[in-house]
Structure formats: C-alpha cells, structure tokens
C-alpha cells in the first residue's frame, strides 16, 4: 500500500475494485465502514455482488477480465468533464498527452459493450472518484490474477495520478496483500531477480555488496519464477525443489500438469507445519514450528514491520524455520550460525536501506513502516509525498485486451475463483481449526438461480465443473452473488481443487501471475 490502513477512514471517496474486503481483510473493511460513517462515498466494482456492494454509493458488476476498459472509461469521462488534477499532472507526472489520446476511444458506449457497465453508472463513479479528494483506491487479487495483471495495475495508477491522489494522506494506490507476510517475503528478496529491499541481482554494486557480506561470489543471472520452475521441472532442467511453508499442489495453476511435472524431480524437500498435499509427495519433510512458537517479524500490507513473540514451545520435535535453514546450510558446507532471530534482523537492516533504521528494540508493539532509513527516522505513513521513486510519475498507455479465455459454445460459462471468510489459502491452517471448520466445512460452486433453474439444479446438488484442463465436482450454492453465466469457486478445498481447472499457460507476460480470475467452463448436474 502506498498509504496506511488507518488513513482509509479519512478518505472522502473510496474505490474498491477486485477486492472482497469484508470477507478477506475484515479489519481493513472496518476502516471503510468508519469512512462511510464520516461521510465518504464508496464505489465498488466487482464481477460478483460482494457484501460491500450493498453499502456502496455506486456498485457495478464489470464483466470478468474487463477492468482496463472500465478504468479507461472512467478516465475518459474524468478528462471530458475536466475533473483531472491539472496542476498535479503538470508538476508530478509525464506521458499525459499520449495517455489522453489513448483514452479518446474509451467512450461510455464502447465501455458498456466490453464491461456491461451502463453509461450512467460509469458517469457517477467517475464523478465521485474524480471530484471527491482524497480518494483511496483499494484492490487485491481480482486485479492482479489476470493475464493482463500488470496492465490492470498500470490503469489503476493512471487513474490515481490523473486525479492527484498519489502522495497524499488518505489517498493512494493500495493493494491489499493476501498472505500475512507476502510483503515481507518480497522485501526480503524471496524473488528471483532481487536481493533484500529490491536491490537487483544484476546490479554490479548490489551484487558486490551481498557477495562480500555473504562471503561467496553470487550469480548475477536472474532466476526462475514459480511458473518457469514448473516448466523447467517438466523439461528435466530443474532437478531439486526445496519448498518452505507453501502448498503448490493446491495453490499453483493446473494441478494435473504440476503433479505430473513434480514426479520428474530427483529431490523434493518440503518444510511445513502440516503434512500438506505437497509434503505427502516429498522425499524429505522438515517439521517446522508455527508462528506462535518462535520469534521474528512480519511486514504487513501497509509496510509495517511487526514483531512476533514466542508464546509456547514448538510442537513435538518441530524446529523454527530459521533454525532448520541454518542447519541445512551448515550441512551443505556453508555454515550459518545465529543465536536468535534478532541477530538475523541486524544483518538484514545492515544490508537493506529501507529497513536500515529498524531494530527489535525500536519496533516495539506498534512496528515501523518502511522506508525507515535511519535510527532516528519515524518510518513512512504514505509514499511518494513530494516525488516518485523515479522522479516524475509515469502515465502508461494501456489498451484493453481480452482475457486468455472467453466463454464459447462448448464452455459457455465464465469461471472465477476466490476466498471465503473463514478460510485461508489452501486451507491447511484453517480447516484443522474446529471453529473455522464449523463455520464453513465444505467447498461449493456459486451459480445464479437463472442458470440453476435451466439445469434443474437445487441447492446442494452435486455439479461437475469442467475446463480444458480437467474436471471437479462441487455442491451447488445458488446465489445472486454471481451473475447469470458466471461461476465462482473458493480455492481452499483439496477435495474440489479449483487448480485442476485453472490455466497455467495464461500468465501475465511481465509478472508471470496466472489468470486465476477468468476462465471458461462447463457445468452439468452430476448423474450418479
């Protein structure tokens, strides 16, 4: 997030697109409700009717995968009506003329054809976001998990910059991160192309700095992303995989392809707190301690680095992940010796400018938001205050493109995937929790009453959902949350694994994120 969670409640307008915030980030949704109480206007754009749609001043259901057209259509109207932040555009951005020209084609009528959103609704949402400042823009995987994910994010940034909403309190571009430490994993260099703090492995200075600190010459060739690793396994080039705290058999697109590829590995090491679907196929399973059983830090979605404290001893003979990694590295001939996570954190802050001013003592209970470059720096509530990281904010021309799959005669439905309020990712943690399992014990497929009627399907009937990749079964949940012609599947359940259906070929060319949010599918009643 460019801005902070607490700032949301002081926004004058909140635009939520591709985030089911009240189900997936309830304590962020709380700030949205608080903002509403203080008089903010709420715009919700989501292909489903989510809970927040009910509270919105304008709620629209854009067709799955049509976000760029919707956002460009809003910008078209903002410029047409002169609602853009002219001074901000002149002083803080570049590329405006090219963007303006590219937006001319996104007339309300053309946008209606692509997205299904009426010109009246488009006008109202453009006016609210264009005229009520500051405007906070919130999004999540509904924007990113597309073959055009990077384009979607660029269109969002264009909209926020055109209206002068980046670099101001209670405004900003705010991706809500799904997993507890996904921000931290990125910050810490858990990516193939960067060291900590996004220092590129290809940069001679960064490479020299880390080579010296770690006492080894380091490769300056960017590594493989997960989808490319799967391809490399299939091609026999990647022979060993060490998986920590992940369950790719359920989280990666195209499960059958992955299962097939993983059999080709010479060695699979899995480190986890449960014997997950992936761990069951491993050669070595390393038993890890849970978060309540160790010290360390997480960095949340607003860049706040927070300390965990050890509450109890690790279960059975499990060990904290940091200790396991140290033991494995030492056995490999690269000794890693730390007495505690605090020592590791000191090494991190020494090598990472955005964390340089942080220490366990300073973090306390409230944590500190990066960038925090010095020990007397208070941390940063919102980014890009007076200038962008690159100087001027770049407005990118982004054209609408169809998703990789659109419904056809054989697969007439749109299929999308997402989360439920009681569960988390592949369900390994929440489904063993008695209270959460009681709340939502099974998966389902959401289907509109019109489609259910045509198929003679009643609530709870088993349906067979198939795509070009495979087929799964799930009980029907008849709901107006999905529009006619759309199906929704939650991702948490190994017994109806959505990643049998989803497409591992449709990736964003830059971010390599799979298109989990749009696919074509067929649905039939299961005949026993």
């Amino acid at each position: 997030m460019t801005n902070s969670i607490a700032e949301i409640e002081d926004a004058a307008c909140i635009f939520i697109i591709g985030s089911n915030t009240s189900a997936c980030h309830p304590l962020i949704a709380r700030r949205v409700f608080r903002a509403k109480e203080k008089g903010a206007k709420l715009i919700v754009a989501d292909p489903r009717n989510i809970q927040l749609s009910l509270f919105a001043d304008v709620a629209v259901n854009q067709r799955l995968g049509s976000d760029v057209a919707l956002l460009n259509g809003m910008m078209h109207l903002i410029l047409k009506n002169g609602w853009e932040a002219k001074e901000y555009i002149a002083n803080r951005t570049e590329g405006f003329e090219e963007l303006r020209e590219s937006l001319e084609a996104y007339t309300p009528e053309r946008v209606r054809k692509i997205t299904g959103v009426s010109p009246g609704d488009l006008e109202r949402m453009s006016e609210l976001y264009g005229t009520r400042k500051p405007g906070a823009l919130l999004y999540a995987m509904g924007i990113t998990q597309h073959s055009t994910g990077v384009d979607n994010v660029k269109a969002i940034c264009n909209l926020a910059m055109l209206t002068g909403n980046v670099g101001v309190a209670s405004g900003g571009v705010n991706p809500l991160r799904g997993q507890n430490n996904v921000q931290g994993a990125c910050d810490m260099g858990g990516l193939p192309n960067v060291f900590t703090g996004y220092q590129p492995v290809t940069s001679p200075e960064a490479n020299a700095k880390f080579s010296q600190a770690w006492d080894r010459p380091l490769s300056d060739k960017p590594g493989l992303t997960i989808p490319d690793m799967v391809k490399a396994i299939d091609a026999g080039k990647l022979k060993a995989l060490y998986v920590v705290g992940e369950n790719p058999k359920l989280s990666d697109p195209d499960m059958n392809h992955l299962r097939h590829a993983m059999k080709k590995l010479d060695l699979l090491i899995v480190q986890d707190i449960f014997l997950s679907e992936t761990a069951q196929g491993a050669d070595v399973v390393l038993a890890a301690a849970a978060t309540a059983e160790k010290e360390g830090t997480f960095t949340n979605t607003e860049r706040r680095c927070l300390r965990l404290n050890k509450a109890v001893e690790p279960a059975g003979g499990s060990l904290p992940d940091w200790e396991i990694i140290c033991r494995l590295a030492t056995a490999m001939g690269y000794p890693l010796n730390y007495d505690n996570p605090k020592e590791i954190f000191q090494e991190i802050s020494g090598l990472t400018p955005s964390y340089a001013g942080m220490s366990y003592d300073r973090l306390g209970l409230d944590g500190i938001q990066w960038p925090c470059p010095a020990a007397d720096h208070p941390g940063t509530r919102f980014l890009h205050k007076d200038k962008f990281t690159r100087g001027l904010g770049k407005l990118h021309v982004v054209q609408y493109q169809d998703p990789a799959e659109l419904p056809d005669a054989e697969y007439p439905y749109f299929l999308t995937t997402g989360r439920m309020f009681a569960h988390y990712h592949t369900g390994t943690m929440t489904r063993v929790s008695p209270a959460l399992d009681r709340e939502q014990p099974t998966g389902y497929v959401e289907i509109n009453a019109a489609d259910a009627g045509r198929l003679s399907v009643r609530e709870g009937d088993m349906l067979v959902i198939s795509s070009l990749r495979g087929r799964i079964e799930a009980p029907a949940k008849i709901t107006p949350a999905v529009l006619p012609g759309n199906l929704f599947l939650p991702i948490h359940f190994g017994e109806n694994p959505t990643n049998v259906l989803t497409n591992s070929e449709a990736l964003d060319p830059l971010a390599k994120i799979p298109e989990f949010k749009v696919g074509k599918a067929r649905v039939e009643k299961l005949v026993p």
Partner: protein
C-alpha cells in the same frame, strides 16, 4: 502459569495485533490487542481462532524421510544430512541452477532472508520465488 503474549495474526496481510492467552505452556485463546495501531482491539473470525491451528493434532511432530517409498520419522541429524547429501549430489551433477527454492509468504522476514541467502550463497542460484502471485 498463566501469561499473555503479544504477537501478530498470521491469517492475512492486515497484520492485526493479538494477545495469546497461555496457560501452562498451551495457548488457550487469542484476544485482540486494544492498543494496536492496525486493529484497535478488534479481530475477525479467523483471528479469534488463530491458536486452533497451532494446537492441532495434525501438526508435524518430527522430520520424515522417504525410505522404500514411504515417509518415516527420523532424527533431525539424519533428515538434515539426507537432504544436504541429496542436494549436493544434484548440484554436483546438474549445477546450482538445477535447484529451486520456494520461499514463503507465511514465514518471518528473518526466515525469508535466510532462505534467499541459502539459495544464493549456499546453493549458488537465484531460483528463489514465493507465492506472491498465487
């Protein structure tokens, strides 16, 4: 002995402050931290039940190694040596870029830091990624 231990919820990226209620070395419950800047004394249904997965009987208790097709519990020394020997063999035969490491959005910063250090310095590859995209 009863104690309250402040920590952070691990169920999403919001980062709510929690208090673990601990009695005699077992977590009894999870409470919201009233003074925390993120959640100000509130939690969602997942947060209130955060301790339940920690206490689950399904938790792995010891490392396991596949012997003759089946996973068997072994000592830590044996599991680590087995993993290290096999990794070294793969590196010797196919080079460091034949190894991939999946870091995690569910473990700590310190652990992610060590994992990429492990991949880049101990193995010698930049093949390290995590499920930010998934």
């Amino acid at each position: 002995m009863y104690k309250l231990v402040p920590s952070v919820c691990s169920y999403c990226g919001t980062g709510c402050g929690v208090l673990f209620e601990v009695l005699d070395g077992r977590i009894l419950g999870t409470l919201p931290l009233k003074t925390h800047p993120v959640n100000e004394g509130k939690l969602c249904i997942k947060g209130w039940n955060l301790h339940e997965y920690v206490n689950s009987f399904m938790r792995l208790q010891a490392p396991r190694v596949r012997i003759n097709g089946r996973l068997h519990q072994v000592t830590w020394d044996r599991a680590i040596q087995f993993a290290a020997d096999r990794l070294k063999k793969v590196i010797a035969e196919h080079g460091p870029d034949s190894v991939g490491v999946l870091a995690s959005a569910k473990i700590t910063n310190e652990e992610n830091y060590l994992l990429q250090k492990f991949a880049r310095a101990a193995v010698g590859t930049n093949n390290v990624d995590h499920c930010a995209r998934l």
